[in-house]
Symmetry: C2
Subunit: 321 residues, 2 copies
């Protein structure tokens, strides 16, 4: 009998469900939008419907499923699997793990999405087996997953890894977390969108606006298109973003001395050709020489599926203790 | 037979040698200045002379010494005990552990001073046994020690913990590390001294100058005296320093979700009455609510001896595996 895992990457905008074997081969996956308002019961219904459909389509027997792993936005209590005042889901306190076990009767792991991602990289990425590993996602928000000495590091109550909430610009843009100048407020996809909106209101950024579908708001994607077409404002803005990311990553390299720092997330992967080199150069030039030795700074090879791979890894690592 | 440890806290300006038992009782200690130029052979001579004298004065037999533990400024390769291009000692590459074993014939542990300090807190401080623990020293420089899940975290090559080299002010003061605006460049004892020198050259800071011995340069101590006498410039400068420290610590709390962050170092302990409360308030107000739960931010109860306690702890933890 095959040993399979159902993985769910639950986000504020999409729910990506997949079935994979324990070698990390994804047999099938299905992506649906998160129900408006993200009512917990509805979200659970959608997850179970997607999984049921995948079981059918991929000709999987229920007994083959070794475990279910769900990745959620933080904050999350681990291992209890309680999603707590999550801004991305607008949830207050949802006993996700308990409820999923009740509904499915299967072993369930619920883990923060960034922790799943770093586990995915650790088991299935180019840096597999690298015991001192950081993962940073740069997307709508910025978050991180930490592997210290071969184990996911969650901190005292599961809140570790909030690397998007380092201040990189004193008194900078207001952040959702209540501070100002956090990396997330200065260099995430939503930070770029806000910045472009303001520029356009002032009559700037015409080159970027020209790359935008009429009636829509420009974001990182349109910024990238304008840059590739030689737009000067786009170049300037992207070089600032690269600098903020470089500062944040260099801070982390000095604090953790990781062997590798792996970047992922929609914005980072979409702008990889424009962002990775300047970020990497900044980091190598701004960290202690000891911390630079052997250091790898690269984008994940697992793409958008990194969290699904992490779900498989979570079930595997749980079995291994 | 008693089980005793020789500990050495080797710094750029002083060498503090102590003998302690494995309960953390310090039987005797001796503090001497680091030889000018800190020639490695001379430093080794001084360390061994001090230890020999302490053995004699404290009536200790050589056989009672279970191990020797030396704390050095970073960067340091662990467990090889090679001090590498250390700015504080002006050493290029010194095989300290190997040389000490050769000279003494005893088991030797060489560890970065901040790692020793966090071990000292973990074994003998008020936060003993706290598995998610950060230590930050605020002194001439700013550094850190990390305990993740009950173990000192050193990173890939022993370079972890350089928390003084987070940028907290983009484009701020030049730092010894080559960056600008690092926490150490903005809020350490030497940063304050540089800032006061500049103020005084411009004819400012008269209240602080009045608290300074004629012919000497004011530093954190004089700043504290002036503050306590109601000097407005001193109040302003200290509130900026507290803010920078607060930003750096809040960053760390969001990244690590520690149970406790313990502060030490000459400047922090000397200005505890003026700095701790504003720093603590800043941190509690600027971190995620999950990461604030149970969070302790306090000064070490081990004072200047924290590194010596750490030396004992290092020998103990080495024996325990």
């Amino acid at each position: 009998m095959r040993k399979l895992v159902v993985g769910v990457d639950l986000g504020g905008t999409k729910i990506l469900t997949g079935i994979a074997d324990t070698n990390g081969t994804i047999l099938g996956k299905k992506r649906v939008p998160t129900p408006a308002g993200a009512d917990p019961d509805q979200v659970l219904d959608v997850m179970i419907d997607c999984a049921t459909e995948l079981l059918r389509v991929c000709l999987v027997q229920e007994e083959e499923i070794q475990g279910i792993a769900v990745a959620t936005p933080g904050p999350l209590s681990f291992p209890e699997g309680v999603v707590r005042n999550s801004p991305n889901l607008s949830w207050e306190r949802v006993l996700l793990k308990e409820e999923l076990i009740r509904r499915t009767g299967r072993p369930v792991i619920v883990e923060k999405d960034t922790n799943m991602a770093v586990l995915g990289e650790y088991y299935f990425g180019r840096q597999r087996g690298c015991g001192d590993l950081l993962y940073m996602t740069v997307s709508t928000g910025i978050g991180g997953g930490i592997i210290c000495a071969g184990k996911v590091y969650r901190g005292h109550l599961g809140g570790a890894g909030e690397v998007g909430h380092m201040v990189v610009e004193l008194g900078g843009e207001a952040c959702n977390c209540g501070r100002r100048g956090c990396l997330e407020a200065m260099a995430s996809g939503s930070a770029i969108a806000r910045r472009l909106d303001r520029m356009i209101k002032k009559g700037q950024g015409q080159g970027i606006l020209n790359c935008t579908t009429p009636g829509e708001h420009p974001g990182p994607r349109e910024l990238g298109i304008a840059f590739r077409q030689g737009d000067e404002e786009a170049r300037l803005l992207l070089s600032q973003v690269a600098q903020y990311l470089g500062i944040g990553i260099a801070n982390l390299v000095n604090i953790f001395n990781p062997r590798a720092i792996i970047l992922g997330g929609g914005m980072m992967l979409g702008l990889k050709d424009l962002l990775l080199e300047p970020v990497r150069t900044y980091v190598y030039e701004h960290v202690f020489s000891l911390n630079r030795e052997d250091l790898v700074v690269e984008c994940t090879s697992l793409g958008d599926d990194i969290v699904l791979y992490g779900c498989v890894a979570a079930v595997l690592s749980n079995k291994n203790g």
